[in-house]
Symmetry: C2
Subunit: 224 residues, 2 copies
């Protein structure tokens, strides 16, 4: 039939995240994420949209979305990735800023048995070390009620549930500020002009974060 190669998995994973907001993914955006030329994406996407069970929907100049099959395949890889990150941190002592690369490589090659065994060893976790939701074994993505920290306004309180970042340096920076899942936040001051937000993290001295940071941190306001 049609083997889903490592490459194709990477395409599907990126298409998944790009189309998460509801919009179709443009070839250019995909190319940028994958670090390849737009023309190469066009070719690949045409291939993925062909055959009897296409993995993506594609019409010229209209962007790409996942078919149900493609979505399944994407969620499978994402589940692998997030379980791996969780395992590396929890069981092998990796730091949270260091797991992305390793998980990105291994996610394509672990078997279903490996997936299931590490999931069990971890107690079937729902979130990875960054708070990202882990798709269920049935490949359904749990719903996420969180909102961006950048939307928080004084004097709202919230708890960090998720940090959307792969970049090592950024993650280390966030950790040094205490901006990790579980941290309690109170918005202290908001500047309309530069979108800076002054927040208090876990009762410590307030800090100021710009939107480059606050856009990547997600919180819930009324945690149980």
């Amino acid at each position: 039939m049609k083997p889903i190669t490592q490459n194709i998995q990477d395409y599907l994973k990126e298409i998944y995240t790009l189309t998460d907001g509801g919009e179709a993914a443009s070839t250019t955006a995909l190319a940028a994420r994958l670090g390849i030329a737009p023309a190469s994406v066009t070719g690949m996407v045409q291939k993925l949209a062909g055959g009897t069970h296409p993995l993506v929907n594609y019409r010229k100049h209209q962007g790409v979305t996942l078919t149900p099959e493609g979505k399944r395949a994407a969620l499978e890889v994402i589940r692998h990735h997030r379980l791996l990150e969780t395992y590396l941190v929890t069981m092998l002592g990796y730091s949270w800023d260091n797991v992305h690369e390793e998980a990105c490589r291994l996610e394509h090659f672990i078997s279903e048995e490996f997936e299931s065994r590490i999931a069990v060893a971890l107690g079937n976790p729902i979130r990875d070390p960054h708070g990202e939701l882990i798709p269920t074994p049935e490949l359904e993505m749990p719903s996420d009620e969180s909102l961006a920290l950048s939307a928080l306004r004084p004097p709202q309180k919230a708890v960090i549930v998720r940090v959307r970042a792969d970049d090592s340096a950024l993650l280390r920076h966030l950790e040094s500020l205490g901006l990790v899942p579980g941290a309690k936040i109170q918005a202290v001051e908001y500047s309309l002009f530069d979108h800076n937000l002054r927040i208090q993290v876990d009762e410590k001295l307030p800090i100021v974060v710009g939107s480059a940071i606050s856009d990547k941190i997600f919180v819930v306001c009324n945690p149980l």
Copy 2:
């Protein structure tokens, strides 16, 4: 430079095991092990023997051996493979007949950090679940004093240290006979004609094994 791809690693690994006995590896033998056509091997081997830092020594019709660089690369992969097998069995509950495939895939993709972390978690083991020696972190292969069970003669006693097999069905069979590393063996009877060996395993009722089995089991006669 010259990236050592997954493919090349597989070549080097097979060349390592084929040249273990001292002989150069023939292209045909390599092709059989790798499951590809002999002609393909010739092409690949010519490439590997070229460049400034060749990974193999090769002369037409003379077979292939590893250069020091090639040997290092092979031992790196073999270390990955055997550490992975050990980790899968010890930490994730895999059965010994089921680890080969998984390790064969992952061995190419784990980082040095991963290698080192699982080695530490396992207490820097010297042998994998089949008793195969694990190259050291400095990529030296420990020496192995064992001899084939097929060379044992009544009334010699020995202990199994190593089982040279990847095949799942064979491994399950051996396990059911108690022929696993650590088992105590006494040779009871040897048939010169069919090379069958009757042995007693761990004080149980004697069993008869043919050379297809006894050639793959390695023992030491005078364990400390």
